[in-house]
Subunit: 342 residues, 2 copies
DNA sequence: TTGAAAGCGCTAACAG
DNA sequence: CTGTTAGCGCTTTCAA
């Protein structure tokens, strides 16, 4: 005796047709019950619900969305590296907003690879996500223009797009760095070493521009403090610090363009048992533990993700508005261990 | 003059039918070109491709999967809190594996809420994800049994499920803690204060069990070192440390059940300018900066996510195998600043 | 209030 | 090699 007559095959997922057969109603009535349409006679609805739980029915949302043309309740988030706390904080904040809108988040890392970024965007569009939040690699995003025009809005975080118009949420890199350098200048420093990452990066260029503003308004020769670029993450920041200190007329203060550079600098200073006026862009959770006092430019990382997601949902509900640009304010904080200060 | 005659409406996304019309071929030929089926005459394929890029066609994968019954190339990851580096590291590792399988990851946080966890599982199943990776809240997961039976496999990370059978990847909490406590005992400590989180948590119970093993085999009275539970994250770990130190016959060493507890303890010791033999479960990126030496139980967090994802994809390709359980090994590391050691 | 028919965008199965 | 027909699981439309 098989159950072919009155039930679905063992492995198959039950469909509304199966439910309808068991409940003795039409497919459409099952659909109405599943969608909580109120105009269904109570006893029928009850029979349908019984059949649903008997079969363990679960609506196939993929199919439902296809016919109705409804949104997929999914947004794509493309960041550079989920393992980096900066980006995972952004992801968490965006996810919290998405949850409020009953939307799921597909998160993917481009790993600073423009080709991968493009692939991801296209893949996500083929999945018909409702919108995209992107931390761009800084290359060309013109391929997004048609997508945006077709109603898949995008919001850019941390850096603006190039080659297409879209909403953006960025840090106030320029003002933050300007205020930081101003403070060093006010303390009397006239020789500030500046260590930055690659200047292909929008944020790094802005930070350097802010530093120059402060130096110029103080009448200090910016050329003398030319940034020493460093190649890659690990030790090279420390090497740059070493080179600066070993040169004639070494700087009395150091500005580090981001927190990884700061860590390299701190290590190098600890190795040399040297103290210097330290300043950096980026606050981070364990900055208070640093064995060296440092003044950092802080900001609300969660706000980046939160505002981007909020802008996206606003745009989903009001398409066609002009792209807007939100700038997250920055502030100065003093960090480093008390132990180390004594 | 409108373009209604030969093109889709302005806002609408072009479908294969539109492409077919423009290219002067049948829908099926377009489908073949889109799927890179080789048996299409070169000139036709070229015309189709031209029409595709003219219209900006993008295949609707949702529809494609519906008919073909193919997998959605999407897996769901349910973690406790994406903002927590432990979980975001797991997510990043799982994402890296998913990428190798051309699969996207929907990541969602349950926030330690069992009801939310259940909602998320059901939502993801309705979206027909190919599989689930779950860091469970420790409550009942029996609702997953039918899903698993129906071919949506699940892998549990960090804690095993209750109420259903599934693959798991967990840390060797017990051995790690046992080895750590053994070391303290070998150093001569006979009074070890133990500060743990809620014992509803599987990992914390296991760690405590490991500690007890070490104490018992050394013939040390475990009761005397009863764990002081602490209520919530912020200061209460520090308060527990304070209470222990102010009691008569205070401990000479401290075991902290996780890294948040360790931070609270370190702060309290710094406040009191007291030094104690410190030990804890969980290594973390900035542990080397701690202003107090500490021996921690380390492990490869990425391995948790990586192995879980690999188990999931293995199961997707070989359904029906018995659930297996993978245990990640642990090791001891000495941390804390050199500065603080001098 | 209920149901039959059509169709979302695509692929499977089969025919030409 | 190409096209036609059917149909995935659901919703929409419209008639009963």
């Amino acid at each position: 005796m098989t159950d072919q007559a009155d039930g679905p095959a063992p492995g198959r997922r039950p469909t509304m047709i199966d439910v309808a057969r068991v409940a003795g109603v039409s497919l459409k009535t099952v659909s109405r019950v599943a969608n909580e349409v109120p105009t269904v006679r109570a006893d029928l609805a009850e029979r349908v619900r019984a059949a649903m739980s008997e079969l363990g029915f679960q609506r196939n949302n993929v199919a439902a969305n296809l016919r109705s043309g409804r949104a997929t309740a999914t947004i794509g988030l493309i960041i550079l590296d989920l393992a980096n706390p900066f980006y995972s904080t952004i992801a968490a904040a965006a996810a919290a907003v998405a949850e409020r809108f009953d939307t799921q988040l597909i998160t993917a890392s481009s790993g600073w690879d423009p080709a991968r970024e493009r692939e991801l965007v296209l893949d996500l569009c083929e999945r018909r996500v409702d919108g995209l939040i992107i931390v761009p690699t800084g290359e060309d995003q013109s391929y997004l223009s048609t997508e945006i025009g077709r109603g898949t809005p995008a919001v850019f975080i941390d850096s603006p797009p190039s080659g297409c118009r879209a909403d953006t949420v960025v840090l106030d890199n320029r003002t933050g760095t300007r205020d930081l350098i101003r403070r060093l200048l006010a303390e009397g420093h006239r020789h500030i070493g500046m260590i930055t990452d690659t200047l292909n990066d929008f944020t790094m260029r802005e930070r350097l521009a802010g530093a120059r503003e402060a130096l110029e308004e103080a009448g200090v020769d910016a050329g003398r403090h030319a940034a020493r670029l460093y190649s890659d993450h690990p030790r090279s920041a420390g090497d740059s610090v070493g080179a600066m200190l070993d040169a004639p007329d070494p700087p009395t203060a150091l500005f580090c363009g981001n927190n990884r550079i700061l860590l390299g600098a701190v290590e190098e200073l600890a190795r040399r048992r040297t103290r210097l006026r330290l300043a950096a862009f980026d606050d981070f959770e364990f900055a208070p533990l640093l064995p060296h006092p440092v003044t950092v430019v802080g900001y609300d990382t969660r706000a980046l993700g939160r505002l981007a997601a909020e802008m996206l949902f606003r745009r989903l509900n009001a398409p066609g508005a002009e792209p807007s640009n939100y700038v997250i304010p920055t502030y100065l904080v003093d960090r480093g261990t008390e132990l180390a200060r004594e």
